[in-house]
Symmetry: D2
Subunit: 362 residues, 4 copies
């Protein structure tokens, strides 16, 4: 049951990295939504390996097939199954790790949990699984766009290079104009250099993806356990290589006082607004109409070319190096994945909130 996500807009993800296909079934998508095929393609390409010098050279064609749930270009309200065939597979690259547990990968834990694993390309633990998330997220975005809700993620830090401005001082439209998806062109240049240097060294870098969601109406999110930011947090922490999440003033809240941090209410043309937005658009787990803003911390990927110590399935100590094609930094490619997961959470809570809006009760 761990491959299901969402309560009303529910997705079921499947596929191994070097198996036949990666795919997803979306159950609970609204009917009569015109399918935006360009949006799907665009997000798949943004996630795709081999898209630029800073990403892995694996050359997936990423052609998707919709098997069900869409009729004459519109959603039916029935399950939407979509798949992307795996191509350009070089499983032989992975023969060396068939019996070795790669450090900080999930080879060992999968083997221990299941007693079996598909070692080729990392099998199910591979970030190739995120194709399913991007596919589903694009359908979530189609609904959100009709509601005037827009999600924009961007790279705000790579290794030690940090964008210094808050999101509202940046031109987020510039995000897609460079390889690293950083809306600050100068920082972007430094980031690219850092990634290419790490690539040369056979090493890897981490970073932070920041995400802004505009247009979320007041009232999404359920108090207590399914707080909107708790569900966003889980969604982000479920992405490969993510080690941390914070919302609004986040970890920085710790060193500030209540009197500095509270968001005073004000009226703006008879609309309730806050003067500041340290809450990150969510109060008590419920959206308050301000921009939702959060950060996601990615560790450097575990696949590096350096020689490493490890052990084999038969419990021998070994030194080895990983071949295969890997990103030195996945953070730029994680941008559409963060957006997709955010879209899934928001659309699900939008639909969960629908019952409160029902006549004759609202």
């Amino acid at each position: 049951m761990s491959n299901l996500f969402g309560k009303i807009f529910t997705i079921s993800s499947f596929g191994e990295s070097h198996g036949s296909a990666i795919g997803v079934v979306i159950d609970g998508c609204l009917p009569n939504i015109e399918v935006d095929f360009e949006l799907i393609k665009r997000d798949l390409l943004r996630r795709k390996p081999g898209q630029s010098l800073v990403s892995s050279p694996r050359n997936e064609t990423e052609e998707f097939e919709i098997l069900s749930g869409v009729f004459e270009g519109k959603t039916l309200g029935t399950p939407i199954a979509i798949l992307v065939r795996n191509s350009d597979i070089k499983s032989s690259d992975y023969d060396v790790i068939k019996n070795i547990f790669r450090p900080s990968h999930a080879d060992y834990t999968y083997e221990a949990k299941y007693g079996i694993r598909d070692h080729r390309g990392g099998g199910r633990q591979s970030a190739r699984e995120t194709v399913a998330r991007v596919l589903a997220g694009s359908f979530a975005k189609m609904i959100l766009n009709k509601l005037g809700i827009y999600i924009q993620a961007y790279v705000s830090q790579i290794h030690t290079i940090q964008v210094q401005q808050p999101y509202f001082n940046l031109n987020l439209d510039q995000t897609e104009t460079n390889m690293v998806r950083c809306p600050d062109p100068e920082a972007a240049k430094w980031m690219e250099d850092a990634i290419l240097k790490a690539k040369d060294e056979g090493d890897s870098l981490g970073g932070i993806v920041s995400c802004v969601i505009k247009g979320v109406p007041v009232g999404l999110g359920e108090p207590v356990f399914d707080k909107l930011h708790a569900d966003l947090g889980k969604a982000m922490l479920s992405i490969n290589a993510v080690k941390g999440f914070d919302i609004g003033s986040g970890f920085d809240s710790v060193v500030r006082k209540g009197s500095e941090l509270n968001d005073a209410f004000r009226l703006d043309e008879s609309e309730v607004r806050t003067k500041t937005n340290n809450s990150g658009g969510i109060q008590g787990g419920i959206s308050n109409g301000e921009d939702i803003f959060f950060r996601v911390a990615f560790k450097p990927v575990a696949s590096i070319k350096h020689e490493q110590e490890s052990i084999t399935k038969s419990l021998d100590q070994v030194n080895f190096s990983i071949a295969g094609r890997h990103d030195s930094c996945v953070v730029p490619r994680a941008v559409p994945i963060v957006e997709a997961m955010a879209a899934l959470v928001i659309v699900d809570h939008y639909l969960r909130n629908a019952s409160y809006k029902m006549q004759p009760f609202s």
Copy 2:
């Protein structure tokens, strides 16, 4: 459905701050567990307001009643309903906020979502709800203790005062020896001073609770969406005033390289272990047998005595001050809550993992 947590060990939380009672129903607790009444009492007292100079003076007696699911001192396997009556209620303290939305509280968002709210003591948005979590968590701990799994949370930072040592260099047994629940006695003293100063100023402070879980077997956690740290993250982010979560090397991972961060495998008396534990005990979402380690960031509570700007339900701009009894810093009292939520996640995943251990399949 937002007041339910867990898939197999499921809890249903209920109660408003100034209503009749706070309580919880636990569905899915194993049968034949001897109920450790002392453990329940101890954790309730650790969470209780008024326990020390650094906490709120509200004097709840916190007597609990078990209504079902326990027979002759043992769990039956049927739902365990427990309640704590609310006492020492001064709802009149809250009359002033009946029509005012307190900044950075959930008054406005509850009102907007539901069109009604119990303003007394914050109603359902009050952290008094966490009594339910602690009650349920104590049952989870009873199971975990039998399995040799122990959870210890502690305060590692209050405002700018930070414990400088990693958890494994601290004597965690000292955690409960001071009012702030900090295992570093010197830091603890500074923290107490800081909190008392903030109290004098009518202001509030945030902090960080760190948590260590020892004895978790290899294999807990489900890959993809229900990664063990994703579920821990959601659990923590659902606690009032939490703004961030990270696991293992967490946000610090960002500025380190793959070659520095990877946890090499080694053999320790034919057991698979890692040399370092930047993974925080979880790889690919599945526990690897090392200590699980994570951090939870709390903002300073929103209730401060300073005069603040806000608006009323009838959309008038007002300046007002909050009376009522509040903590200047909830972080010390959050320690048992963090532990309780961690216990709920671990026991749930322990039970979810049971099917993989079934004969004749394992």
Copy 3:
């Protein structure tokens, strides 16, 4: 997790027959619903033992306490916890069965599954648990009543005595005018006689409860697994002593031909209606606007005064008789339980359907 029911309007039931209390937590009730205390009382009394000569003499007072979720007479949208204390308990009546497995009860299966059981009054297996269902069902009815949806169950058969008319030829308002809750006064008389005779003989009788739901709008129910009648069926089959369920033409469909059974569509003042209603108001799992009609078969209760053969926990063969206070026929008391479960299913599907009605999509 087996004590939870519903996806959006979710209930969590708890309590043993001779424990402290029976109760329920409702999570997902709409806010701002005026609580109809009379409705709750009325349905509790209809379910109550000792209400007439044909029911068990246990004299529960059935006073309920609402612990949360209701403020100034209205629902808050937060969890509604309600409990009924157990009273008039004669647990000593049950000492004899502490170590004996009563035939066709769940003593043996509980013991085998859990390794422990509360034998007093049957513990959790007792139909006393249905108090929780009736409490929750009354809140569901409050919502449905505002929507013009009304549920009426009645006894249509006791042992061999059968009401001969279909529901639409009966005056269902007469249902509550007799002890057996049968709207056909003549049949009711025969049924009473049959039950009293069985009581004299220390034996028990089964019967059928029929249920009509009027006013359900077109479109409730989800195709494929959560068909409206599949969820109704599960709800009914989860009631103690139920052995069968059918919808519309039900088991009788088997001996009729498609040409006889199909419900032709017709227009009635530009509304789509069917000429006949063999579908029982549900087509393809979705309500079609006609009356929903189904039947629920109850076996005679297992508690009889006859001497019976059985075995003990220590696996000795024994002959024994059950004391305790039991109904000779629970079917009349099951009427409000059937209604409650129906109300829970319909309100849940009403809320699940809300998202399809959302602007700007509908």
Copy 4:
């Protein structure tokens, strides 16, 4: 969320009758199960149209492709996605019903609920969806077979022709020896004749599928809402054309007395057994180790060749006839579907029960 079934062994079904494919994703299948490809093929063929004179002539090739979750012939514990491409599609046959609501089909209710529908072959409402169930059920059977649990369904009634013997007096091995899947050869002959006659008349017949499950251990099923027979009932009622379900003595219980119906316990080589099995193998919702036995009532399919009255989408009254290729009686083809749904319920409860068997608690 209506296309998901099961709590631990969870399936996600997708596909329209005349879309690209029908398929299923199984999440929660145990790892290391050897895939029995012959079993999958055999059950697909048993469900397949065109398999005999008594079934629809649509000639699906029913070739399945496993896209994920299986590696070197064994299950990985990761999601198993399987699809069957739709072939031999004659959508033009359905042009006539594009705008007409067929009586006792779900054309009208789908249109009303979703505002859109794929009319071709009935789209999602078509029983072609049951391919997904049979595919998933075959994996459930692989697990059950290893546990010594066997499921055998058979046709016990077609229209007025009824098998007179209880299942334990029949040779169930003869079930597959005739076209109607009836283990009583004489009755089978009469049934075939009846179906062929109905076919000639352009009419349709209903019937009853009975199902026996042998080898279920004591203890499966959760008390209260997820009683084993309640989940079986829901599973069966979710199958197209099913109108009723009963367990053990079922509807017949109504006319029998407690003293006749109770299943006395006895010892059989120190195993607890019952003398009779009116409980149908389930007591208090929990399996008791006896054979599980239930019946499923199918109405005659709604597609008949007779002229029928109906209305169009634009609300005009019309008379029309259905072309297309349809079964006159689907009951024989429903046998593997009933088995598949039963297998899904049993395996799910088997896995849910695993936690009670955990060391050191059991």
